[in-house]
C-alpha cells in the first residue's frame, strides 16, 4: 500500500524507474523495473504491443491465382509475413507529405510462381530493394501442376491497434514475488511438500531448511501457501515488476522498449497541450 509520505518521495524521484536486464537473447527480453507502479507498467505493455509502427503488406492485387488457396486467404497470409525494414526511413500514411502514396510511405512487391511446388515468402520480390522478408520459408500457397500465382502487393507502416499484423511484440508484466518462509513454524513434511508442489522449482531443501533458490521464477500461484497451515507467505511487490517482451516483428525488443517510451512521451505531451 502507498502511504502519503511514500507518495512525496515518489514525486521527488519524478517516477524514474530503475531497469535491470535479467535475461534476453534474440527476440526475447526480460527485465526488472523498480520504483514504479502498475499503471506505468501497463502503459508500457500496451504501447509496446499496440503503438509501435511496423511495416506489413496492406494491399494485394491478384493477376492470376489458380492455386487451391483462395485469393483473399493469400492476401491475408501475405499481410502476416514479417518484413525487415528501417523504421527511421518510413512514414505513416497520415504523416507523409504525399497524398497518393510515395516511396517514403509505401513499398511494392511482386510474387510469381508456377506449380508443382510450394510458393514461399522468400520469393516475394521487393521493387525498391531495401526491404526483405524476415523468414523466407513461410509457405504462402501450394500449387499443383498447371497452376500458377502472379500478384502485386503494397506494404505500408501502421500500428498494432489498427491491425494485429502490425503488432510489434507480445509483452507481459508481473509483480516481483516476495516469498517469506518461516523455517521454525514448518514441519519437515510441510517443507518437503512445498518443494515438491512448486511448479517453477522456486524452493530448495537444504537438510532441514527450506531455501528460496529461484525467486524470479515464481508466478505467485500460491500452491505452496495452500500446502501449509502457516509459515509461508507469498505476496507481490507493488513497486517492483518483472517485464517480459518477445518481439514478433523484425525489430529488436530493446528498440521496441525505447520507441514505446518515446511514443508514451509524445502522448503525454499531447494531453498537456490540449489542456493548456
Amino acid at each position: 500500500m502507498t502511504r502519503p509520505e511514500d507518495q512525496e518521495v515518489k514525486e521527488e524521484r519524478g517516477y524514474k524507474m530503475k531497469l535491470e536486464k535479467i535475461d534476453g537473447k534474440g527476440k526475447k527480453l526480460k527485465f526488472i523495473a523498480e520504483d514504479t507502479n502498475p499503471a506505468m507498467m501497463n502503459a508500457l505493455r500496451r504501447t509496446t504491443m499496440n503503438y509501435i509502427p511496423v511495416l506489413a503488406i496492406e494491399n494485394v492485387g491478384i493477376i492470376e491465382n489458380s492455386s487451391p488457396v483462395f485469393d483473399e486467404i493469400i492476401a491475408q497470409r501475405l499481410g502476416q509475413v514479417p518484413l525487415v525494414f528501417d523504421p527511421d526511413k518510413f512514414n505513416m500514411h497520415e504523416d507523409c507529405e504525399c497524398e497518393e502514396g510515395c516511396s517514403n510511405c509505401e513499398v511494392k512487391f511482386t510474387l510469381k510462381g508456377e506449380g508443382p511446388g510450394i510458393l514461399y515468402s522468400g520469393e516475394l520480390n521487393c521493387k525498391s530493394g531495401d526491404v526483405e522478408v524476415l523468414y523466407d520459408r513461410i509457405p504462402i500457397t501450394e500449387m499443383d501442376e498447371n497452376q500458377e500465382v502472379d500478384l502485386e502487393a503494397t506494404a505500408c507502416l501502421s500500428i498494432g491497434k489498427d491491425h494485429s499484423k502490425h503488432q510489434a511484440s507480445v509483452s507481459s508484466y508481473q509483480y516481483y514475488p516476495i516469498i517469506d518462509v518461516d523455517n521454525d513454524e514448518l514441519t519437515v513434511e510441510e517443507k518437503k511438500s512445498c518443494q515438491e508442489i512448486c511448479p517453477r522449482n522456486v524452493f530448495e531443501l537444504d537438510g532441514d531448511k527450506l531455501n528460496i533458490e529461484n525467486e524470479e521464477r515464481c508466478t505467485l500461484c500460491k500452491e505452496c501457501v495452500e500446502e501449509v497451515d502457516s509459515g509461508v507467505v507469498v505476496t507481490g511487490d507493488e513497486e517492483k515488476f518483472i517485464f517480459k517482451i518477445e518481439s514478433i516483428c523484425s525489430l529488436d525488443p530493446e528498440y521496441i522498449i525505447s520507441k514505446a517510451a518515446e511514443v508514451l512521451e509524445e502522448k503525454a505531451d499531447k494531453v498537456v497541450e490540449k489542456l493548456s
Partner: protein, 63 residues
C-alpha cells in the same frame, strides 16, 4: 488446410517452422521438437500439434 503464417492467439510468426517440425516429428518426441523450435506458449504448441496439411488433397478439385 495450410499452416497459418502466425499463431492465431499470440501473433508469433510460426509458418517457417512447420516443415522442420513435420519432418522431425516422425522419429522424435514432439515436446522436445517444440521446445527446440522456441514455441513456449501453449497457443503456438497446440497449433502445431493439431494441424493437418490438406492443400495437396484439395488442389485436385476445382475451386
Amino acid at each position: 488446410m495450410i499452416i497459418p503464417v502466425r499463431c492465431m492467439s499470440c501473433g508469433k510468426p510460426v509458418g517457417h517452422l512447420w516443415e522442420e517440425f513435420k519432418e522431425r516429428r516422425r522419429d522424435e518426441d514432439p515436446k522436445e521438437v517444440l521446445d527446440e523450435l522456441g514455441l513456449d506458449r501453449y497457443c503456438c504448441r497446440s497449433l502445431f500439434l493439431t494441424h493437418t496439411d490438406l492443400t495437396g488433397k484439395v488442389s485436385k478439385f476445382k475451386k
